[in-house]
């Protein structure tokens, strides 16, 4: 686990300079005042003049700093800001109002940086289009440096990148940086895979370019398991790459390319296995690569399957926790072989449905 627990909503935040009791007392004082303001603003909805007074707003901000999980208070702010912005026409003043909201969020995040309400409010404020998106990217860089796998942060970053219209080719560089900092970062790998999909699905992206991109990714991710073969994040990403590679089958020139990639990757895994004969992930990935290879290349089917079988058998003792899974794979292999022996008589083409990449 990556060790940054979310604060439980009910849990009192651990304030830096205050006694928890002082917090409770202040909270008790603010609560009725807020509820009073909140009631007044409901009255407003049915036509009575509302008072989103500065004082009420300050109280509300303080309340959210004390307890950022208080959703009603965030909603109150949204209504208030909408109303205040509705009255204000000066652009600078409007920007100032938005900035004040961002500051309130920052104070809430200081107390609990995994507060859904606060992040949601921030998105909402950015959606008003009154704030600098570059400033948000700087903020995120800092946050994700301190907590590289804060998924609120990653989620918010995707939102900003999308709002700003940053091309995926550019956005991907940030994931490279984060992975270089620490490659055991699922969030960064995941974000990378999403961005790569986006690039390859873009209209007009040439197939050679997608192929070259995937090859670069294989080279990149290989560094992770040569550095630490026990780290799962790189292997997961590798599996995803393999899926993407297979998905290209059928496009012009891809079949030859696929065999070339598979040969190269099988070789790399074998090399690593020579250095790390007991590496579970290497064995498992190699077995999968071999089976994929087998399903596209009938001439080596027998030797590929035999080698894969050996690896699964060894995995049974190497990783007894997942023994059942490996045995299931072995039984699948046996039944497939039976079918194939028969189907080879009718030379029926086999698809790649036997790939089960997710463990």
């Amino acid at each position: 686990m990556h060790g940054r627990p979310r604060q439980r909503p009910g849990q009192a935040p651990s304030p830096l300079h205050h006694q928890e009791q002082a917090y409770a007392v202040e909270l008790q004082k603010l609560m009725p005042q807020f509820l009073q303001s909140n009631r007044t603003c409901w009255v407003f909805d049915v036509g009575v003049v509302c008072s989103y007074s500065a004082e009420a707003m300050n109280q509300n901000a303080r309340l959210l700093e004390l307890n950022p999980e208080f959703y009603t208070a965030w909603n109150y702010r949204k209504r208030a800001v909408e109303e205040i912005l509705g009255r204000e026409t000066d652009e600078e003043a409007r920007k100032g109002i938005a900035q004040r909201e961002l500051d309130v969020v920052v104070r809430a995040l200081r107390v609990n940086h995994k507060c859904y309400g606060a992040w949601y409010h921030r998105k909402w404020v950015i959606g008003l289009g009154l704030s600098s998106l570059d400033a948000e990217l700087v903020l995120l860089k800092k946050l994700l440096r301190l907590d590289g796998r804060n998924f609120h942060g990653w989620d918010y970053r995707r939102f900003i990148v999308k709002t700003k219209g940053v091309p995926p080719e550019e956005a991907i560089l940030f994931t490279t940086d984060k992975i270089n900092e620490n490659f055991s970062n699922y969030s960064a790998w995941h974000n990378r895979s999403a961005l790569l999909s986006e690039i390859s699905k873009k209209e007009g992206t040439e197939i050679n370019r997608v192929q070259a991109m995937l090859e670069d990714e294989y080279d990149f991710v290989k560094n992770s398991f040569y550095t630490d073969p026990d780290d799962q994040s790189g292997w997961f990403y590798y599996c995803w790459l393999l899926e993407q590679t297979i998905a290209l089958v059928g496009t012009p020139g891809s079949d030859v390319w696929l065999m070339k990639v598979l040969d190269k990757e099988i070789e790399a895994c074998r090399e690593l296995l020579e250095l790390e004969s007991n590496s579970k992930w290497t064995k498992l990935t190699l077995a999968r690569l071999l089976l994929t290879h087998a399903s596209y290349n009938t001439s080596s089917r027998k030797s590929d399957t035999d080698e894969a079988r050996t690896h699964f058998e060894e995995l049974c003792s190497l990783d007894p926790t997942h023994r059942e899974y490996y045995q299931y794979q072995l039984s699948m292999l046996s039944s497939k072989e039976l079918i194939k022996d028969r189907s080879s008589l009718t030379t029926q083409h086999e698809g790649s449905e036997e790939l089960q990449l997710k463990s």
Partner: protein
Amino acid sequence: MSARKRTLLKVIILGDSGVGKTSLMNQYVNKKFSNQYKATIGADFLTKEVQVEDRLVTMQIWDTAGQERFQSLGVAFYRGADCCVLVYDVNVMKSFDNLDNWREEFLIQASPSDPENFPFVVLGNKVDVDGGNSRVVSEKKAKAWCAAKGGIPYFETSAKEDFNVDAAFQCIAKNALKNETEEEIYLPDTIDVNASRVPKASGCEC
């Protein structure tokens, strides 16, 4: 990008030994006064949260730790100060005369980027002593000195009677905050070596 919201202000208090620097701090922060004089021991700095206009700021008030006695404060002590408070004893002429030296010392050591406009605040302490009868520095004289140095705010205080102490520190906080704009643009990332501030591993609950 918005201005960096720095909430921590470093304030240092200078002045001759025995003018009441520690007493002023203690009165302001802890609301305590002790008649017993001892050269300062034990206090590195005291912190207090203050509301300045619409902002809540933490003031870190640094004591001289007795190193002022033989003018043995090092440059490291002066670094990064947002406001410098100069204290003298209205009953001791020499402590007033030395304000010049303390101001000079500060400007040389801290070398602020804009020495002309660096915020100082002067406090004339111990106005309570002997009902004001033993006083040797007049308010007029002190104010004239402050005016000559570019209009330094001046307060007459008594740490013992808690006279004017809050008002003085409120002004100190306000002036310290003014100075802040100077450094907003570039703050290098530095590393805090206190291990207790370093995140520790625990379960993840997204």
